[in-house]
Amino acid sequence: MINDRDRFRQDKSPYERPNFPFRCGRIRIWGKPCSAGPGLNGACGGVSECRPFKNGDRWECRRTPSAGGACENGPSPDGSCCIQAPPCRPKRSLRGYRGRIGLLAFAFVVAIIAAFGFHDGAGALDTSSPGDLSGAHANFTQGVGCVACHDTHDKSASEWIQAAWTPGDLSENCSTCHTFGGPAQTPHNKVFTGEAALAASKTECVMCHTEHKGAAGEIVAMTDQQCHACHEKKFKSFSNGHPAFSKDFPSRRRTAIAFNHTSHFDKHFQNKRFVEKAPAQRCVTCHNAANADRNVPVRSFETTCAACHENQIAERDLHLLTFPELEENPFDKAEIIAACGPGEADQEAAAAIVEKLAAKPIKAAANETKLEARVREMKEKLGLIESPKKPETTNQANATPQEDEEFESVSTETLPPLAMMLLDVEDGEDPESYAEPVSELVNAMIESGDGAILDLLSERTDKAKQLLAGLSQELVRSVGCAWALNQEYEALSEPVLGGWYADELSLKYKPLRHGDPVVLGWLNLATSSDVSEDFRDQLLSSSEGAGACAKCHSVSTEKGVSDGPRKIEWRLGAQSGQKHVRYRHKPHLNLLGPGASCETCHKINPDAEFSAAFKQTDPLNYASNFRSIEKQTCMNCHAESKVKQECTLCHEYHDEHGFRKKMLSGDGGSPHSAPKMTKK
């Protein structure tokens, strides 16, 4: 019984160990289990009480003592046990069941992985996706799937095994779509040289950007401590240790427009003539607060500067060509008249000759009629045909009618630099050097009109058509004819609305409006590196001609190299050059209210030598109209227990982050279609 402590003695108890996989089936009906118990294979072991042993020629009972010892009847003659019982159906033990369920769980999980583990698709149990992608990434990768970023996704099993042991480079795939102002995998996309290059460690996109955080997941979050992991100068927070702003913050770079706030506010707008045009709402009259972001954009020329400066634009003509002084007449008058018709003076001379000839008797040749003889005489007089040779006298031997009268050029001008560039002439003041190319151009103008200038210009720029837009063939031809006949061109009317026109000895362009594309094109041509300095200086001269544009639009060289390529700052906008600083005006304007609140931070500095900065081309050599913004100004709000002051609130990590063009020209041309993931 239970209380008998000896009941588990080896000779008394069929001890059933818990690790046996089967138990006697009689316990199913709560019967007494047999002493033998089932075998390890689950077969019943209790059909007979024992397995008799043959000792010599006799069978002996081998029933265990715990089962009662040797039975009275003993084994049957055939050696079988005399006590037989029907077999039971052994029952699996608890541990046996547990092992099988454990195996089933393992098989179930493996089956799930096998069924769904390699599936690439939204909505299904995709074991390879640790979460939805952020909205932007999800859109353009939906056509390609995981392979857009993970090269190994659709690889074979052997490549998977290889990939498991090979370091991956996810960041490399990021740059198949993203572009930066510098190398993708250096700190702040900066190019390091020398010792700094050795010290700068390689950066990975995944160091800061962790994807698969859901459609609305924040994948650009970065803590201040992470910034300090690299930056040597460490501080607690913006208000506690951040370095003071530089003395030229935020205006390190010259503005695109040379608008002197000091002189306008303190001088021009105080002038009685302009006081009515003065900005009533100060800053926001010209700056559009509704579109404020990093900058508060300047409104259009028409709504700001035009009120005072629009008329100045139409006064600044572009001089394309001026007919220069010639020492000799290089034109064949007969040919010119044949091509253009006689000039006004020639028509008057012809009338006088006709009258004279009419009073003269006709000397007809033998084979001529009277009418033919009269026409011949008239042509001889007009110099259109040569006279028949007469016996020459000594004085008359080498004389011609042209040599008899001295040539006097209608022009006293020199060849302007723009025409020098067109004709490839080195000295615009030396008639000998430019007479031939000028005469060729004028002849070509007569022959093919504007095509003559277009051909010359096309040799120098591929934007020749834009530069000559609106130039009519008839105008050029008429001008050529007049000049070839050594006459001033007489324009029929003044150009009221602007465009190409000619007056006397010049072919000019009058700007139609602010931002005129023809003038813009010529000025851009002037900034290219393959033009002469004279040409550049003439076109960009703010004192005369179309160069007046450069009076307001600053002309800059890259990175302060004075002889480097120049550009005219046509576009307004961010010019700070501080790549890693970001600031949003809008929330601040909403808080402080637009208008006078601008001057809370932007305080005019009347002592700054603002205008001097625009007399040279280095955009970084600049003195702003405004005083530097001080850190304390920001700290009035951004400080401990006030408004937040994380590093990333004002600083952005990347330099000129952008996207590759193929993002827009993916399969199907849709912006949302997947890009082809080919590596550079």
């Binding site: 316990i27 007494k32 608890l94 769980a105 996706s129 190994t152 160091m207 997941g217």
Partner: protein, 272 residues
């Protein structure tokens, strides 16, 4: 008197706390230095899960002296709590986003919950079994019940032979046989109730008033056997529950290990 806290629990607890603090600090340091702390926490968690599985292996290798089972249990429990904390450190939250990770997290939470449930069972039920005053091997219980029943039936036959009265026999056949047939009043035993004793004092012994002294003596012996069977029944239920909760815990643990292995493969193939 306050219960003495096992030394091994203190030792493992302090070790686990120190390890977690070190891991937390190191992972924070890695994150601040723009590294991926989940590699450290992930691999540590995986090794922890494997170590937790060693507890089952230790039970199978009972012939090898690998320390006391009680020490192993404490180690298993402390490591389980450590794994849960490490899991949160690794995932950075309570519930991940990916469906597969949710499956893994769900399995992990279930195996943790079943572990807590099992630990509570192991704390609550053994004391109740000690109160029965008997020790019995779970696998022998059917045999013990059969033996008790056999003894009771022998007493019934002996009573009938000695007294010539069938009162006890009829009561046994009509009432007590049902009780001796197999474990009864399982829920009452599980939740600490005494429904079996109440039944024995009522319907189970209802015939006693009609018996003579000889019958009463034998009938009381039968009732003693019935009381003993109540203890056996309690062992059957409580030991059964203490064994059967593993039917949830172990398959879930197997699932977690399998899912974790696949997760590890995916991370190595796709990210690292």
């Amino acid at each position: 008197m306050a219960r003495k806290i096992p030394m091994s629990l203190v030792l493992f607890g302090v070790l686990a706390l120190a390890s977690f603090a070190a891991l937390f600090w190191q992972s924070r340091l890695i994150t601040v230095q723009l590294g991926d702390a989940s590699i450290l926490t992930g691999y540590t968690l995986f090794v922890t899960i494997l170590l937790l599985g060693m507890f089952n292996a230790r039970k199978k290798l009972s012939m090898i002296p690998l320390g006391r089972a009680r020490t192993w249990l404490i180690f298993h429990v402390v490591l389980g709590v450590f794994a849960l904390a490490l899991f949160w450190l690794h995932t950075g939250g309570i519930w991940p986003l990916g469906l597969y990770e949710q499956l893994l997290a769900g399995s992990f939470y279930l195996v943790s919950a079943s572990g807590v449930f099992g630990y509570l069972l192991q704390k609550a039920l053994p004391s109740r079994l000690t109160h029965t005053g008997i020790e019995i091997i779970y696998d022998r219980i059917p045999a013990e019940i059969a033996e008790i029943r056999e003894r009771a039936e022998t007493l019934v036959i002996e009573c009938t032979k000695e007294t010539g009265s069938e009162t006890v026999a009829q009561h046994y056949v009509g009432t007590l046989f049902w009780y001796f047939q197999k474990p009864r009043f399982l829920f009452a035993h599980l939740f600490g109730g005494d429904a079996a004793g109440f039944w024995l004092r009522g319907p189970g012994s209802a015939a006693r008033r009609y018996l003579n002294d000889v019958e009463k003596k034998l009938f009381d012996e039968i009732l003693d056997l019935a009381a003993l069977k109540a203890h056996v029944d309690r062992h059957y239920v409580c030991q059964g529950v203490m064994k059967k909760w593993l039917f949830l815990h172990i398959p879930l643990a197997v699932s977690v290990v399998t899912l974790a292995v696949w997760h590890l493969i995916l991370v190595n193939v796709y990210v690292l």
